[in-house]
C-alpha cells in the first residue's frame, strides 16, 4: 500500500486523506493553501519522498554544511546525513517503517488538528498553541516556496519561519526566532533533488557512522502496566506537550521526551550523583543556537538527583520544567 502510494504526487495523497477525513467529520474545511494543510503536507513529505541535497546550518556566528539523502525503499525510510565540515562523520538510519507514526507527526497532521476543532479530547495539535500566517512566496535552493510564519501563543516556545516547497511541501528553509526577533538558528537547503530514489547501497555505513537510535512510539507491556518499582514524573510543562512514548503513567528510565508537534524537549534524571562533582555546580545552563540545556540538583527522597532539561525551548521554561520533576512510587 505504502510503496504504491509513494509514487503518487504528494498533493494527491493529501487530497485523498483530506477527502477521507472530511466526510464523517461534518464539513470543517481548511482552504487547500492554508498553513494547516501546508504543515500537514510537510509532516508527510520529509518522510515519504525521495530526495538528496546539501543544506547549511547556521547558529550564532557559525555555519556548517551537510549533505542529506533520503529514500523510501519497500515502505521503509533510508537516511544519511553527512557532516561536510571538520572531522568526517555521518549519521545513518535505515529501515524506519513509514507506518511507524510518532506522536510529534500526529500533532502536525491534518486529522489531528481537525479533531481538535471538533472538540475531541485528543491532544489538540499545533493549532492551539501557535498562530499561523502565510507570509508570501519566495525561492529557496532554486525552487518555489511558500513562507509560513508560526508564532507561539505563549512564551514557552520559539517562533518558526518555514519555507515549504510549493510542489511537494518539503521543508527547504527554517528559522527559529527567539525573543527580540533574534534568529537563533537557520537551516537552509542550498541545492536539492527531489524524486530520484537512491539505491539501498548508498546507505551503508562508511566507517565513520553513527547509527541513530529509534524509540518506539508506543510501548508494549512492562512499562505502563508495571506496578512494581519506582519512576518519576514531570509535574509541570507548557500546555500542549505530550510524551513521545504513549501510555506511560510515569517514567522508569532516565529520559522522557515531550513534543507539541514542532517543539521538542527531553528531561533526564540521574539519581547517583557524585557529591564531589555536586559541589562544583548545583545549577548550570548551556545555550547553543535554539537549544537550551539546563541542569540542576534537586533533593528527592532525601538524595541528590541531577535533572537536566535539553530542548529547543527558552531557558526559563527549561528551568521551570526541571524544578517540577518528582519521584513517584507505586508501591
Amino acid at each position: 500500500m505504502m510503496s504504491a502510494l509513494r509514487h503518487l504526487p504528494l498533493s494527491t495523497i493529501g487530497l485523498f486523506v483530506f477527502a477521507c477525513l472530511i466526510m464523517p467529520a461534518g464539513g470543517l474545511v481548511y482552504a487547500d493553501d492554508s498553513p494547516q494543510i501546508a504543515l500537514s503536507r510537510m509532516s508527510h513529505s520529509f518522510r515519504e519522498l525521495d530526495y538528496h541535497g546539501t543544506f547549511s546550518f547556521q547558529r550564532g556566528s557559525s555555519t556548517e554544511s551537510f549533505r542529506i539523502a533520503h529514500s523510501v525503499i519497500d515502505g521503509e525510510e533510508f537516511e544519511r546525513l553527512e557532516y561536510l565540515d571538520g572531522e568526517k562523520r555521518e549519521i545513518v538510519r535505515r529501515g524506519h517503517h513509514l507506518n511507524c507514526i510518532h506522536p510529534g507527526h500526529k500533532l502536525l497532521r491534518f486529522y489531528q488538528q481537525q479533531q481538535a476543532q471538533l472538540g475531541s479530547s485528543a491532544n489538540a495539535g499545533v493549532g492551539s498553541f501557535y498562530e499561523f500566517a502565510v507570509n508570501g512566496t519566495g525561492r529557496v535552493a532554486g525552487r518555489e516556496v511558500v513562507n509560513l510564519q508560526i508564532i507561539p501563543k505563549d512564551t514557552h516556545r520559539f517562533e518558526h519561519h518555514l519555507s515549504l516547497d510549493k510542489e511537494t511541501g518539503l521543508l527547504l528553509r527554517t528559522e527559529l526566532i527567539g525573543p527580540g526577533k533574534t534568529v537563533l538558528e537557520r537551516f537552509q537547503f542550498v541545492e536539492i533533488t527531489i524524486g530520484e530514489p537512491l539505491a539501498g547501497e548508498q546507505f551503508v555505513d562508511a566507517g565513520a557512522s553513527y547509527q541513530a537510535y529509534h524509540t518506539e512510539p508506543s510501548v508494549t507491556a512492562n512499562v505502563a502496566g508495571n506496578t512494581v518499582g519506582d519512576g518519576w514524573t514531570v509535574q509541570w510543562m507548557p500546555t500542549g506537550f505530550t510524551s513521545t512514548v504513549a501510555n506511560v503513567k510515569f517514567v522508569t528510565g532516565d529520559i522522557a521526551t515531550f513534543t507539541d508537534g514542532l517543539t521538542v524537549f527531553s528531561v533526564f534524571l540521574e539519581s547517583d550523583v557524585d557529591l564531589n562533582l555536586v559541589q562544583r555546580g548545583l545549577e548550570g545552563r548551556a545555550q547553543k543556537g535554539a537549544t537550551t540545556a539546563y541542569t540542576r540538583l534537586l533533593v528527592l527522597a532525601d538524595r541528590p538527583h541531577r535533572i537536566t532539561v535539553v530542548g529547543e525551548i527558552p531557558a526559563q521554561t527549561a528551568q521551570q520544567i526541571a524544578q517540577s520533576v518528582r519521584l513517584v512510587s507505586s508501591r
Partner: protein, 225 residues
C-alpha cells in the same frame, strides 16, 4: 595598584591564581580599583576575542554578598539567602535572553548567597576555538570565553535549594588549591554529559518535530558506533 596585584588579578581570571595570589587580591585596601580592573580586563579580553560573551559582565553581586555577610556576623539568615537568590536570579534571567554561548554554568549564583566567605572568579574555559595568540602586553593569558562565576573559598557550605521543602546542605572540605583541578574535571564531565544528552534528545526530536534528519545538524559531535 601594583603590577604584582594586576598580575594576580589576571591569573585569577584565567583560573591560575594560587592561594597566595587569592589572598593578595582579597586583602587589598583598594577594593574599588580591584573591581574596576577586573571588569576592565574582561572588557579587553572580549574586545580582543570579538565575541559576544559579556552578558554577565555587569553583574557584580559582590557588594550584596559582603553586605549580607557584614550584617549577620558572617552567618546568613535563611530569609537573607532567599532574598539574595531572588535578586540574582532576576538579574540572570534578565540577561539570559541575550546570550548565545554554549555551557554557561550558573552554579555559583545559588552557592554564593549561602557561603560565609566568597570570592568572585570569572573563569570558564570550555569550547575555545582560538588559534591565534594574543598580542603581548595585555594581562590576558587565555582566549577562552569568559563567564562570571562564583566559587566558595574555604570552609564553605553549599545549599541546594530544590524547592522550599527539600533543601539540604553539603559541607565542602576542599582547599582552595584543589578548586581549579576538580573544577576542570567537573566541567569536562558536565560537557560530555551534555553532549550525550544532546544526542539522545535529538534522536527523539527528529522523530517528533516534523522536520526529520536535518535536526541532527544541532549535534556537533558524537561517538561513532
Amino acid at each position: 595598584m601594583s603590577d604584582q596585584l594586576r598580575e594576580s588579578i589576571s591569573a585569577l581570571m584565567d583560573g591560575e591564581a594560587d592561594e597566595l595570589e587569592l589572598r593578595r587580591i582579597m586583602s587589598t585596601d583598594n577594593d574599588e580599583s580591584v573591581r574596576s580592573t577586573w571588569a576592565r580586563y574582561h572588557l579587553v579580553r572580549e574586545v580582543m576575542q570579538d565575541n559576544d560573551t559579556g552578558a554577565y559582565r555587569h553583574l557584580d553581586i559582590s557588594s550584596q554578598v559582603s553586605m549580607a555577610i557584614g550584617h549577620n556576623n558572617g552567618r546568613l539568615s535563611e530569609e537573607k539567602i532567599d532574598q539574595l537568590e531572588s535578586v540574582v536570579a532576576q538579574k540572570v534571567s534578565d540577561d539570559q535572553q541575550k546570550t548565545i554561548v554554549w555551557w554557561r554554568p550558573m552554579a555559583g549564583f545559588a552557592v554564593a548567597a549561602s557561603v560565609a566567605m566568597a570570592v568572585i572568579v570569572g573563569v570558564q574555559t570550555l569550547e575555545t576555538n582560538a588559534t591565534s595568540e594574543l598580542a603581548s602586553g595585555f594581562p590576558v593569558a587565555s582566549k577562552a570565553p569568559m563567564t562570571s562565576r562564583v566559587y566558595p573559598v574555604a570552609g564553605a557550605s553549599m545549599q541546594a535549594s530544590g524547592g522550599a521543602s527539600n533543601a539540604v546542605r553539603y559541607q565542602s572540605s576542599e582547599l582552595p588549591g584543589d578548586i581549579a583541578a576538580s573544577r576542570a574535571a567537573a566541567d569536562l564531565e558536565a560537557r560530555h554529559r551534555l553532549e550525550r544528552y544532546m544526542l539522545r534528545h535529538t534522536e527523539r526530536a527528529v522523530l517528533n518535530n516534523g522536520q526529520g534528519m536535518i535536526s541532527f545538524a544541532r549535534v556537533a559531535s558524537f561517538d561513532k558506533k
